[in-house]
């Protein structure tokens, strides 16, 4: 009979007999949203140290892009934030269009807004489900969210041929036009969406346990959020009025009317609510785009997609992806391949404050905080 040294689980106490416990959460863990890892030091269940570890999904997308043609990187961008491939396509297209000075036809811009906002809608919906999963709710909200996402993905499949890996945008436009009847179908579907959001709201918002789990957890001040480069809903939850759709006014966003919600406290609950409110604004945007979409070409005919050679120079193009500011920094030497291709991944940079947010919280909060930042590991590790 042998008794294993159980005290070895704990670190030696520092002074007054306090013992801390080091736990490696991840890379295989149910709620790290993939292969993310956090080395956590806990005193009881309180976090005293947290160190994120990245790179388990690293495939050096940037190096691959230097090997491929300009067009050849487009399908790879699908795999960045694989929940919202279309906005990744869009960001890359915007950056290349800046680099080469390409005009985009009007219909293509409308198509981009429609598919982009559908992407935002499904991302935010799934976010509501995922954060409930992180809180230990047994998947009801997640399943409802996936149910609705499924319908949006079906729309994407009809349009682009694939549910997730769409490879849809092209330099100066999009790859294919709507098939017959698609717009009517999408419009009819979006009509039902507010009712679904109402259902989600009555399931979640107001739930006392959810409020207790989210409110007051990990507040971030506006100043800190800006300094740490947070972007997207996480930034706006801290009360910063900064939406790249408004600020840059790329595409046809200046023509459409929508509101940018922002919170006051910047805690997990605000980050949660901002997504819900943004989803409602996306519906408004979609309805306007459905009503206004003109006929015309869907891609700039001047642009040669194969053997595309932008002029020498560099450009930084960015859009407001559902996760935040997704930017591409491209350097061209005039050749068929990029000289340098860099992605500014919102998921990674939004994690900058993770340790600060988690210190002093409980272990269970770490999952909620991570969930409220809304990361996708394909983008964090690239």
């Amino acid at each position: 009979m042998s008794f294993p040294p159980h005290t070895s689980l704990f670190n030696e106490g520092n002074g007054a007999g306090a013992q801390t416990l080091d736990v490696s959460l991840g890379p295989q863990h149910p709620s790290t949203h993939g292969v993310f890892r956090m080395n956590v030091r806990m005193d009881g269940e309180t976090i005293v140290k947290l160190q994120p570890v990245f790179g388990y999904l690293h495939r050096n997308h940037e190096k691959l892009a230097e090997r491929n043609s300009w067009l050849g990187s487009m399908p790879y961008t699908d795999r960045l934030d694989y929940l919202c491939p279309i906005t990744n396509n869009w960001a890359y297209a915007v950056a290349v269009e800046k680099l080469a000075g390409i005009e985009v036809p009007e219909r293509a811009e409308y198509i981009r807004v429609i598919v982009g906002e559908l992407t935002r809608l499904q991302n935010h919906t799934v976010f509501l489900g995922f954060i409930l999963g992180d809180m230990g709710s047994w998947g009801s909200a997640l399943m409802y969210a996936f149910r609705e996402r499924e319908k949006i993905l079906d729309l994407f499949e009809e349009l682009t041929g694939a549910r997730m890996m769409v490879n849809y945008m092209r330099f100066g436009g999009v790859r294919c036009d709507f098939p017959v009847g698609w717009l009517e179908k999408a419009r009819a579907y979006i009509e039902t969406y507010p009712a679904f959001l109402d259902e989600m709201e009555s399931l979640l918002v107001g739930n006392e346990i959810l409020l207790a789990r989210l409110q007051g957890v990990a507040p971030v001040t506006a100043e800190r959020a800006i300094n740490a480069g947070l972007s997207g809903p996480v930034l706006r939850a801290s009360g910063v009025d900064y939406d790249i759709r408004k600020v840059d006014g790329y595409g046809i966003y200046p023509r459409l009317s929508f509101r940018v919600p922002r919170g006051e406290v910047g805690d997990c609950f605000d980050r949660f609510m901002i997504r819900l409110l943004e989803a409602r604004e996306s519906i408004k945007l979609l309805q306007q785009a459905f009503a206004q979409i003109p006929a015309g070409p869907i891609v700039n005919p001047v642009v040669k997609q194969r053997g595309f050679k932008p002029p020498v120079g560099e450009a930084y193009g960015r859009i407001e992806s559902p996760k935040g500011e997704l930017g591409f920094h491209l350097v061209s030497e005039g050749g068929e391949k990029p000289y340098r291709y860099h992605i500014r991944p919102p998921s990674l940079i939004n994690l900058t404050l993770l340790e600060e947010m988690c210190l002093g919280s409980k272990l269970a909060d770490v999952m909620v905080i991570l969930g409220s930042i809304d990361i996708v590991l394909g983008e964090v590790d690239r």
Binding site: L64, L71, M74, R147, P179, S202, G206, E208
Partner: protein
């Protein structure tokens, strides 16, 4: 009504409505959308794509559209296409592939090969049951497996196939017209040259003795 616990009761109501509602959703369009896969097959959208295949017209050997230009091999982002050009024993190259392999475990279904192909010969299939225990054998699809008829293409992507055929037809007509024009031009030129030659001959015959005739 807002008392402590009312939010929980509201949430319970939502789950109950969904639970009961899933029994009263005969079209399974609103709540219970799961497809019972092996028994029910999803109706694929027309644009739906999985992996590439090669089109032939009428005959898999003679009608193969691919000319082994290797543009797709060069453009393929994950570099999963492998082509060898056909040649005879003397090293004379034919405009058709001898080997055309696609490693579909590497292929990412991006359909860039389809877009760059100038001969409309590679297109996206929509089959999806391709799982296998054999990593290297069955996931490397060879030319024989890739070749599928144009009718098959019409079957899976009717709209796209129709436009493709129209484009090929237009190109053929244009080519034929161009050929006709060139032929006519050549004929006219020949006639003119012949006339000129005859004239010159007549002139030269007067001046000089006849020389050995050159080809026109």
């Amino acid at each position: 009504m807002n008392f402590p616990g009312s939010g929980l009761i509201k949430g319970m109501w939502v789950t109950l409505v969904n639970g009961v509602g899933s029994f009263f959703d005969p079209q399974r369009s609103k709540r219970l959308i799961t497809e019972q896969y092996p028994e029910e097959r999803p109706k694929l959208a027309e644009a739906s794509r999985s992996f590439p295949f090669l089109i032939f017209d009428n005959d898999p050997e003679a009608g193969i559209r691919c000319t082994s230009c290797k543009i797709c091999e060069k453009e393929c982002p994950p570099q999963c296409i492998f082509i060898e050009q056909d040649k005879d024993a003397n090293g004379k190259l034919f405009r058709r592939p001898k080997v055309f392999n696609i490693d579909i475990s590497v292929c990412m279904s991006c359909q860039i090969c389809v877009e760059v192909c100038p001969f409309e010969s590679i297109r996206m299939d929509n089959i999806y049951e391709m799982s296998s225990y054999d990593r290297f054998g069955s996931l490397v699809v060879t030319k024989a497996q890739l070749l599928k008829s144009n009718e098959y293409y019409h079957g899976i992507h009717p709209t796209e196939a129709a436009t493709t055929d129209a484009r090929i037809e237009a190109a053929r007509i244009k080519k034929a017209a161009a050929a006709k024009v060139t032929a006519e031009k050549a004929a006219a030129a020949k006639a003119a040259a012949a006339a000129k030659a005859a004239e010159e001959k007549a002139v030269s015959e007067k001046a000089e003795p006849p020389q050995p005739e050159q080809t026109a």
